[in-house]
Symmetry: C2
Subunit: 505 residues, 2 copies
Amino acid sequence: MGLFSLLLLLLLLLLPLLAPGAAIPRSPALRSLGRLHLPTRLTSRPTVARNYSILYFKQKVDHFGFDINKTFKQRYLIADKYWKKDGGSILFYTGNEGDIIWFCNNTGFMWDVAEELKAMLVFAEHRYYGESLPFGANSFKDSRHLNFLTSEQALADFAELIKHLKQTIPGTENQPVIALGGSYGGMLAAWFRMKYPHLVVGALAASAPIWQFEDLVPCGIFMETVTRDFKKSGPNCSESIRRSWNALNRLATTSSGLQWLSVALHLCSPLTDFHDFWMLKDWISETWVNLAMVDYPYECNFLQPLPAWPIKVVCQYFKDPNVSDQQLVQNLFQALNVYYNYSGQVKCLNISETTTSSLGSLGWSYQACTEIIMPFCTNGVDDMFEPHSWNLKELSDDCFEQWGVRPRPSWITTQYGGKNISSHRNIIFSNGELDPWSGGGVTKNITDTLVAINIPDGAHHLDLRASNPLDPKTVLLARSLEVRYMKQWIRDFYARQGKAVLNSF
Amino acid sequence: MGLFSLLLLLLLLLLPLLAPGAAIPRSPALRSLGRLHLPTRLTSRPTVARNYSILYFKQKVDHFGFDINKTFKQRYLIADKYWKKDGGSILFYTGNEGDIIWFCNNTGFMWDVAEELKAMLVFAEHRYYGESLPFGANSFKDSRHLNFLTSEQALADFAELIKHLKQTIPGTENQPVIALGGSYGGMLAAWFRMKYPHLVVGALAASAPIWQFEDLVPCGIFMETVTRDFKKSGPNCSESIRRSWNALNRLATTSSGLQWLSVALHLCSPLTDFHDFWMLKDWISETWVNLAMVDYPYECNFLQPLPAWPIKVVCQYFKDPNVSDQQLVQNLFQALNVYYNYSGQVKCLNISETTTSSLGSLGWSYQACTEIIMPFCTNGVDDMFEPHSWNLKELSDDCFEQWGVRPRPSWITTQYGGKNISSHRNIIFSNGELDPWSGGGVTKNITDTLVAINIPDGAHHLDLRASNPLDPKTVLLARSLEVRYMKQWIRDFYARQGKAVLNSF
């Protein structure tokens, strides 16, 4: 399940909240944007066989209180083919909002560097995702059961798991651990190093938008990056998309216009009212967002298969902005078809399509209502979208209705330091410049041990993906820098222990 | 309320747990030792008038979950007489297990250096102590209400309070904050700098036994330090005390012996059984512990007034170890009388005496059953006490019966790093070498910014107390070093901001 389907799922969840027939109905667009899911399930066929053991570790449901003594089984994966007891290391993936096996299979970088770093690979599942459900099928029942779904609890899980590994696997006890993660997992990797520096010698935080909170970055930066990707992928591309909204709006003023749109866009269910129409526009917006995140240089599966550099392919249909509204919509259909029907098998486009209603999405929607409050906005000038301001009040009310909880928009900054993180050490922040999440990421060195690696041709954590012949040189360079830093951390660790360091490091 | 009375209170609480008439009844001594209270209520008449404002800040009861949205009022004190908006600083006392006004009045050091550091003084009360009760009178009702009494929640309170101050007091927003604390408050100061380095530029952790956990230091080190203090305070002193236990044991074998002891020790209530006798021995042990902690160079109030260097006074009664059991007990009475009757007003000694059953003691007893699990033991060879091993199982069972919770003895190390803290910066660990808590403290430099200051003639956080003409030179030196480090942190802070630094720093 990807961003798009999650958003649709969220919208579905929000449906009861929308007052039909209200005088000036609010678009749910920004509401859903406020809950943008970090795309994590980038499926790709692994280029190497992934041999790992699946294990479970008993975790306390509540690390921060003593009243509830319940435990649950956290799933984790271990691959030790290249691990060396002598002078080896442990690469620890700080799992994010999804099934850990997906992350394992989509973090080829760790597999690719395992031999060079003599590393044991560990992939730890995030609580409330995959199989790691604190209350089993009841985990998402209500706010009481969801109460232990926080980044702090997840970090504490990682800490306990690392201590467990060191206590139970002979040879690991005196080895350095490095945290790695992408997207929200990258945020967790960075935060883990900040909060538990005694357990990991460093962190590689890939495409981690740790500053997409409060006013640390402008709320418009995300959609501006999306727009820039389209702008540079073909002449008139972003401008055509910017114009498409009013074309759609004009056509949607009558019921016959809605009907025409339904046919022109090959929708599976015809649009019947304004609410459907907002859904349509949200769905289109999220398609552009998705494309910006997965604008990878090679063919890649993401819900549907996509061609290499998919935005370029999309932009072929947006070369001429000066066309009639109808023509623009027909071009829009062709563009959407690249994303939803690259295989050519799809008969119609389903804007309310939801893929499996996985628990993972429920979990993220809760997190996006509590801690992970990322302001987004558009103005239609610096970006190619319709203007929407950030509305915390609305989000808060929706969250309260949906989950019975209200967001704490300042908490992440209070807890993890916001921009004031210079006293930490040994964190690599990597960002792809095509990735809209880079706007909320760390893209300049903070100190000589808190470093930024920018990948001009990279989309969302491309560097964490398996090596590919079509990889741009910039990502190869990024990966080699990342390895160099990690080797340095490992060397420093063994030097502090007074141990001979092997030449290979 | 001091250590001694707390321990008695704990014993009283534990009374129902002791099976009367059991074949081999266990002494509660080690049980209570395992819950040694950090003495905090060292009363002394302030040498300067303390002018502060009493304020309250609305805190969330649960920072780490979103289900419970309740708030409570945290009390804090502010003194800004010497604070300068221009180039000033904020000294933030991370309140420990007691009424914040006591800490305010007993941390004269902060008052003494306020002018030099142009500092605003803030004293933040720890939740569940003083007036800062999350559920009012119900706060200690059961484990559900006590669930939010943890060091992590307390640190989060401090973080939120600092953010609040910076947002609401013009001039503070761009000023450096330094955390200070003594004893458990010193642990909190150090941990706060470790976990929230974006909020405080450094910490002065006075007499903070952050390593009195798990096996980070030998469990016997505490009582060995107590013993050393007595050993060096008079010839045969510790040896006499070591012998006193068997003298007591021999006398207690008969009921007439118990009666004789009751008279010889001027007990208010005669000893009637073995249980009373264990209580007596615990009470005596805790008296020696207390004396070691408050072995200050000047007259000082602690429950009862004490003379300067009280152990020396006590040891005058223990010069000759080769006396009869009866004589030794009579000497023992004289020694105890120094502690309990320096004023000469006390008619009898009350071994079950408890001072006000303040809520603070309840809170600490809970903390000592959950996170703050400090192993203590004695062997009677390296110390002057009867041998007792550390028994976690027993503690755990007692805690479960008392509070319905079980200790997590490894959690503090997992959370705060144990001995592996070298990646942090700007923490001063000060310890008095007379203080038994110094054994669990950091007494050697870890790096050039994680520094130890040892005070050979100091008892429990003497350096935080107000300047006194009888202060030993070593504590004067310690304080001047502490000020020098703090000034450096303040200078560095302003330098990072690119601001001109005033000459005075």
